[in-house]
Symmetry: D2
Subunit: 155 residues, 4 copies
């Protein structure tokens, strides 16, 4: 689902799957927050980072990764019913909070209509001591690059 | 997972499962919002409602249920890492917003420590026209009963 | 994730997401079967079908769709650990069982190595009576087209 | 969801949740395999094991756990539609394959009717070298105890 064009790594898309709906016929709510996290992962890849630069990928990785980025807050708003087969555009807006934290806004559109909004806030901590620490440089660069290319805020 | 004692239908528990964790060794964030919704479903059952009174359970049901309760907002805060095998207590606090909406606060504790908080906001709509409507009477009764028995707000 | 080139609608790809792993650092097993179903959905779209031709997408749709395709069997084999960030190729092999059933084999490769295999078997039933019925014509066409283009079986 | 009575640690129950269904109004298939794994985890707890004896629960644990039990095969059969609110009984049948592997059969019943069957096969490997090794003694004891108490096979 990664947008292949580097200049588009804040604009992603996904097609809603049948298993993401519930018996009311629409997307079950918490999937939207999963999409937010996956869109963030895709954006990092589209920007040029490796998943293993940011996420522990198994025991060895967990040992070698010095900084963890736990989610400390998330929220979502739902505006219109989303159904299986819907083609969604996802517009990401990264935002640095301070030296040790950042959040990523996600806007979900079908056609040009907003169907949902999501937000995930991360904190940087030392993977061993679990004490707050500075954001990884690569995440800093991704956030800076996004603010440069965004121009007028899309949200 | 339903608490069998009627007087405890706002106090639930669950044990964290291995598949709910991620490669960082802790619960992957959005599962907490799934737990909030499932705890709400359990509370309704513990109070005496049938799932089919509130949730569409297949085509026929969808046709006969006049009122749908879509989620319009959700959020969660994460305070301490949660791991597989953790025994969590879930304290629910239902809150009526107006004649057509309500929200359910959830506090997750391990031992007596707060590990996470969740919130899900629902709107009542006509299942056919999707226009706002009054909350189903049974939901109203559940909310009233909860405010009576709660005494001092746990959150 | 849909392969945009029509000639490639049996060859899909996906990148493993962090939330699909567990505390052992590898993909939690049942996600592979979710991937199989999603790959099938993508293949139908890549072939030219609409999701709403095959899957109920809400109440109205459920009423109008005459044929349902419930899963009656699924299985998966796991050969190598799969981690977050892994780029997987998914090779689908649809197979008609009889006039009322079909199954879809999925082979997951990383590089040229097989990492997992999946299989999902569907039955066609009348959505109202739930009695066996003939496969929908569009599914028949997709299966036929796949056998034509596959040549030597990839599995 | 753990059955509190020790003598019942192979007989579990769960109530189907709304978010586990899809737009066809029934449980989305792969949830049944998640239930199988969770039922196995519950059974180990009901028998007296700690989750941390068997499952890695974070980095430290991953380092200290010598034996991993990856899933190498899983399958499920679906007999009757399962809906939100359904009360299911889960009957587990552990089976040792050889010194290094075992599988757990799960039978899901509603009332006394079989609605689904599941199977998960595990292999014991050294968590570092990933080479096959003997099953952990505690798993051996759980399997033996189950065969003793089962008497005539329920499946």
């Amino acid at each position: 689902m990664v947008s292949k064009k580097p200049e588009h790594w804040l604009l992603l898309e996904r097609i809603v799957r049948f298993g993401e709906t519930d018996a009311a016929g629409v997307v079950h709510f918490h999937n939207v927050l999963r999409w937010c996290h996956e869109a963030w992962e895709e954006s990092l890849e589209g920007y040029g980072l490796n998943s293993s630069d940011v996420f522990p990928t198994g025991i060895q990785q967990v040992e070698s990764l010095e900084i963890a980025l736990p989610v400390v807050h998330c929220e979502a708003d739902f505006r219109l019913p989303i159904k299986a087969g819907d083609h969604l555009e996802i517009i990401l807006l990264p935002e640095k909070i301070d030296m040790t934290g950042f959040q990523v806004h996600a806007k979900f559109q079908r056609g040009k209509k907003n169907v949902a909004f999501g937000l995930i806030r991360h904190l940087a901590i030392n993977a061993r001591t679990r004490e707050r620490c500075l954001l990884p440089e690569k995440i800093d660069l991704w956030i800076e690059a996004s603010s440069l290319k965004l121009g007028p805020r899309p949200l």
